[in-house]
Amino acid sequence: MKEISPWVIFFASIFTNNMIFSNFLGMCSFISVSNEIPTSLGLGQAVTFVLTFTTMLNYFIYHYILVPLGLEYLRFIIFIITIAAFVQLLEMIVERYFPNLYYTLGIFLPLITVNCVILAVSLFMVIRNYSFLQSVGFAVGSGIGWTLAIAAMAGAKQKIKNNKLPKGLEGAGITLIITGLMALAFIGFSGIVQIQ
């Protein structure tokens, strides 16, 4: 995998390998927090931010602690703990020293601890054997891709807000159908670049 440029991975993870549309990861907050564009953009920013830093952190932990000790199989538990601790620490720091950031990102941080996209990016980084720069490109791209997806969903939801829907399709039902349609559109990109 060394030959792919981090930039290619960056753009691929936004469009062709979008976490939501090609892997269906990070769905819970994608479904529940996609009612308004500003809120979903806030959550998207927080996801991108946390993704970038936890992936970098997990890269070092994996390659400099787990691999030398031959403990690769512990990566699930270690990655999860790292993400949880990092998010909590980040929340404290942001709340104390960056009040403005706290009012846009802060309240979303606890939501992100359990967002599977975060763990997935760290794990894909290992499975696909990315270098550090490739991992960073992948993380930032995945974050932006996720933001793009949730913002698009929020836009679609706002458009259909006042439309009458069959009772059973209200809420999560129609969201999943729209997600499916969007995913079909995004699959159109998939021939352009392949990173997996």
Binding site: T39, I65, I81, M92, E95, R96, Y97, Y103
Partner: protein, 365 residues
């Protein structure tokens, strides 16, 4: 064997390191030290910063109504934050109206204490507390109204003004997945401090369904209070006109019993509206009051009497009886308690008779 030990050691060391890091952060970064909260420009509290305003105030024994326990899902815990609350959070926006936003109203469960603050709360909240009570008695008053006696824990007492109400916490039950609070007026006089009586009419709503169908004697019920601007006003020279329908009798009974106990000698006429004779209740209590109060007249008026009821008293709604018997508003005070519809029509009648806003007290529910 050694693999197991190494693995365990590594995970433990790793987790331990992160735990240590978080503990240090908790005590440095998240430690806001002692801060000051000034309430209503007069009372000052020194508090430990970092927690939500709601829990900080509860620690200072100031009870802010809240049903969801700080999750930001009920919207009850509103207070006015004049200084030091930071901007309004997205989690608060759904609960605040435009007017409230303009007046710096915040949800105290979302707003954190991170700097010195100035806030405003209704004066009466200083006296508000939460009480754990036990249902001592449930009694049918009429086919639709039950009397509920809630006894406070041993040694606890509730102080209130005659006419005020409490809020009762309705827990979740099958068919109701959210805790809610409902207000009920206290029917007992303030001299009784270790239990309260409430009258609860069945409407089929969340709270009344719970009370009428599920609540049993011996159950624990949480209440908080007292609240309300509707209470006895001491104007000894004025004649009193009291008007109530159905469970609206509760605060009126509290006031009348208070007057009896304190030997307050004022002329009182109590107009009570009901549909049929079955809907009249607590007649023994009222008879006793008629005997013992200085100058008290009970005037029940029924709106749906039939021949077989043999009713010789007043007929029609309360506003008709008021039209008939109240000559003018000179030197009189009116206390009204009942449904918004009843209050509005009665207000109209009384204003026509010369009562002013200042001489009419009412409690709409």
């Amino acid at each position: 064997m050694s693999t197991i030990l190494i693995t365990t050691a590594i995970v433990t060391a790793f987790t331990g390191f992160l735990a240590l890091l978080l503990t240090i952060a908790e005590n440095t970064i998240a430690n806001y030290g002692e801060l000051k909260i000034v309430i209503n420009d007069e009372k000052e509290y020194v508090v430990q910063g970092g927690a939500s305003l709601l829990s900080t105030l509860i620690d200072q024994s100031i009870f802010i109504p809240s049903a969801c326990g700080g999750r930001g899902s009920c919207g009850y815990c509103k207070v006015k934050v004049l200084e030091g609350g930071g901007p309004v959070l997205p989690t608060e926006l759904p609960w605040l109206t435009e007017d409230e936003l303009k007046n710096n109203v915040r949800l105290s469960c979302q707003c954190k204490v991170k700097e010195n603050m100035k806030i405003e709360i209704p004066e009466e909240w200083f006296n508000v507390r939460e009480y754990e009570t036990v249902v001592e008695l449930i009694e049918d008053m009429t086919p639709e109204i039950k009397k509920l006696r809630l006894r406070l824990k041993d040694g606890e007492e509730i102080d209130f003004k005659p006419g005020q109400y409490i809020q009762m916490k309705i827990p979740t039950y099958e068919g109701n997945d959210e805790e809610v609070y409902r207000a009920y007026s206290i029917a007992t006089p303030p001299s009784i401090k270790n239990y309260i009586d409430l009258y609860i009419g069945y409407t089929g709503g969340t709270a009344t369904t719970y009370i009428h169908k599920l609540l049993k004697e011996g159950d624990t019920v949480y209440i908080n209070g007292p609240y309300g601007e509707f209470y006895y006003h001491d104007n000894p020279d004025k004649e009193m006109i009291m008007v109530a329908v159905a469970t609206g009798i509760a605060p009126i009974l509290s006031i009348l019993r208070y007057m009896k106990e304190n030997n307050i000698q004022r002329k009182v006429t109590f107009y009570f509206g009901a549909k049929t004779p079955i809907d009249l209740f607590e007649l023994n209590l009222i008879e006793e009051l008629e005997k013992e109060l200085h100058d008290f007249k009970f005037l029940p008026t029924l709106s749906r009497v039939k021949e077989e009821h043999n009713w010789t008293g007043e007929r029609g709604r309360v506003n008709i009886a008021l039209e008939k018997y109240v000559d003018n508003g000179d030197n009189k005070e009116a206390y009204l308690c009942g449904s918004p519809g009843m209050i509005d029509t009665v207000l109209e009648v009384l204003k026509k008779k010369g009562f002013t806003e200042e001489t009419i007290f009412y409690d709409k529910f």
